[in-house]
């Protein structure tokens, strides 16, 4: 009876761990094994040691600048830079908006109404299927028929030949195309960040604010000396989860890259939107000669990159908060 009792708990968690080991842990380890092989998906994987990882670091791409041929970092590192160019503006904008809204909504002097209503509205874009958001953005940004050009420039019939000139095609410019995705990401996520930061702000004891008020502290001082330092655990949670998600961005770049709508996205823009996970997907599933081993190495490299930046961020945060104390 006693022996049996000891194992009942195990029986409760058993189903989860069967699924977990089979569909989670095993694939993670097997991916590592594959990263040490050359495998086209059909024949047997062929062990090649750390060649795939070496390729990540040594492979160079070529770009032409006028007549000069330039050696540039390989495709993976270009994808790395692209991913950061998309993520970084997004997280900065997102935090600024979310913190600002959080402060307004929790401020006891302002006593804003309709907080619940606005919170729901701001959260809504986050629920919508990213693929649908991507297609919707493409249609709205459509060079000739999209609503955005119609809002900015008026109807196309105002222009010679009844169509907009080529420079109105926002997505033809690689930097602007990256920024468009940053904005979409901000739009989808600032509501979530706001809800999280607000919950954190509400957890800060009111007495701190009352004391600051008595000492005649300004709103700005109160924010930087009380709210922000005490919000750090939640702030860190928001930044780190956004980093993990942002480094893996795939859906919207994929939809944009497959966008052949009137050559809306192409050439230089296509290269600028290749993110790390898009590159990973492409190596395994988007090429006529796929290399699953190399794609697996890209997976692990991406994991290492996320871990390294999360650690750098955490180190920075602890240093800053120690410096202040």
């Amino acid at each position: 009876m006693k022996l049996q009792k000891k194992y009942i708990g195990l029986l409760f968690i058993l189903p989860f761990f069967i699924f977990y080991f089979m569909f989670n842990l095993y694939p993670v380890f097997y991916t590592f094994f594959l990263s040490l092989t050359k495998w086209d998906g059909f024949a047997d994987p062929e062990l090649v040691g750390f060649d795939n990882y070496a390729r990540l670091f040594t492979e160079l791409g070529t770009r032409f600048m006028g007549m000069d041929k330039l050696d540039v970092p390989g495709e993976f590192w270009l994808a790395f830079v692209n991913t950061w160019r998309i993520w970084l503006p997004n997280i900065i904008l997102q935090l600024v908006i979310a913190l600002f809204l959080g402060v307004i909504f929790t401020n006891t002097r302002l006593r804003m109404k309709g907080v619940g209503f606005f919170r729901a509205i701001f959260y809504f874009p986050n629920l919508v299927t990213a693929a649908s958001v991507g297609i919707l953005a493409l249609v709205l940004l459509d060079w000739q028929h999209g609503a955005i050009n119609q809002i900015i420039h008026g109807p196309a019939s105002n222009f010679t030949g009844g169509s907009y000139p080529p420079e109105f095609n926002i997505l033809m410019n690689p930097i602007r195309a990256q920024f468009v995705i940053s904005i979409i990401q901000t739009w989808q996520w600032f509501g979530v960040s706001m809800i999280l930061l607000m919950a954190g702000m509400q957890g800060i004891p009111k007495t701190y604010y009352e004391a600051a008020d008595l000492d005649g502290a300004s709103t700005t001082q109160t924010f930087f000396k009380i709210t922000l330092p005490l919000l750090m655990p939640v702030f860190t949670y928001v930044v780190v989860t956004s980093l993990i998600g942002g480094m893996q961005i795939f859906d919207i770049p994929y939809v944009f890259l497959r966008g052949t709508m009137q050559g809306q996205v192409g050439g230089a823009t296509g290269k600028a939107l290749t993110t790390m996970v898009y590159y990973l997907w492409q190596q395994a599933f988007g090429l006529t000669n796929p290399n699953f081993g190399y794609a697996a190495a890209v997976s692990y490299m991406l994991f290492i990159i996320i871990a390294v930046f999360a650690v750098i961020y955490l180190k920075m945060i602890t240093r800053v908060s120690k410096g202040e104390a």
Partner: protein
């Protein structure tokens, strides 16, 4: 006098802030509103510029949708997505509830190690095992099968974590002990006592699981090859090829159709969703 100027200042600040918040709220809604308006207009009307008044061509656009998507069976997307999202949700929630219950009310060998696995897997990026999981499905002969999308949902670590916290806050141990003294079997205590008490927490996690599985993109893209098995997000991503005549009214309408279930969920269940989101930050 002094007081009234301060009051006026506060009123002005408040007014400006409301204006700003209102602009942000408009920015969140307008893209969807334009989508609905243009989804009810003809191609020619869309080319003449934007408007906030819906058109009258919904039926026409539905007909066009049916014609241009005849070869990809656009509406199969609903069926496939519903099958995947519902089955994955039930599987993940039931297993996670069992697991959370086991962790809260039982002592067993290596309990800390098992819980460590759950914590660790919440921090691992989802794509890390992608290639390995694809290979596993290849070996199981489950590629291009909806089961390949459903089965991995059985290991939802965050749901276990959430429900464990939830059980601790709503289900006191003495209730379980009382049931045991009455001679109830462990599994029937779980089904008859724990599950009903846990149901609000379960509902929250179920909604998130449904939305996550409905919206999931990369894994279905990798697994599914025939368009008849495509889930809704894959169907909608297909729209963006030069294959189909550029009928913008129909395209807007299809985008609207693809997110319709999400809009309905949001309308009825947003309270659960928002309380679920803020749970994330209150972990520590």
């Amino acid at each position: 006098m002094e007081i009234s100027t301060a009051r006026l200042k506060l009123q002005i600040t408040r007014g400006l802030l409301y204006a700003l918040i209102f602009v942000l709220a408009i920015a969140c809604i307008v893209p969807f509103y334009i989508m609905i308006v243009n989804g009810s207009r003809t191609n020619e009307q869309i080319n003449t510029g934007i408007t906030l008044i819906p058109g009258s061509n919904v039926i026409g656009n539905i007909k066009t949708t049916l014609i241009i998507t005849a070869n990809i069976n656009f509406f199969f997307g609903y069926v496939n997505s519903a099958i995947v999202a519902i089955c994955a949700t039930i599987l993940s929630i039931y297993i996670a509830s069992l697991t959370a219950f086991g962790f809260v009310f039982y002592e067993f060998p290596l309990k800390k190690v098992f819980f460590g696995f759950i914590m660790a897997s919440m921090m691992i990026p989802a794509q890390l095992g992608l290639i390995g999981l694809w290979d596993l499905m290849l070996k199981f002969n489950l590629l291009d099968n909806l089961l390949a999308l459903i089965l991995p949902a059985g290991a939802a670590a965050f749901t276990v974590y959430f429900l464990r916290q939830y059980i601790r806050s709503v289900l006191p141990e003495y209730i379980i002990q009382a049931a045991r003294i009455d001679g109830a079997h462990d599994l029937s205590i779980f089904h008859r006592i724990a599950l009903p008490i846990m149901s609000p927490g379960i509902a929250t996690m179920a909604i998130f699981a449904f939305v996550f599985n409905w919206n999931n993109f990369l894994w279905p893209l990798v697994v599914l090859t025939s368009t008849d098995n495509y889930t809704m997000p894959l169907m909608i991503a297909q729209l963006n090829s030069s294959l189909y005549a550029r009928d913008y009214g129909a395209i807007y309408l299809m985008i609207a159709l693809s997110i319709f279930p999400i809009i309905v969920m949001f309308a009825f269940l947003q309270k659960f969703l928002i309380s679920g989101v803020s749970f994330g930050s209150l972990k520590e």
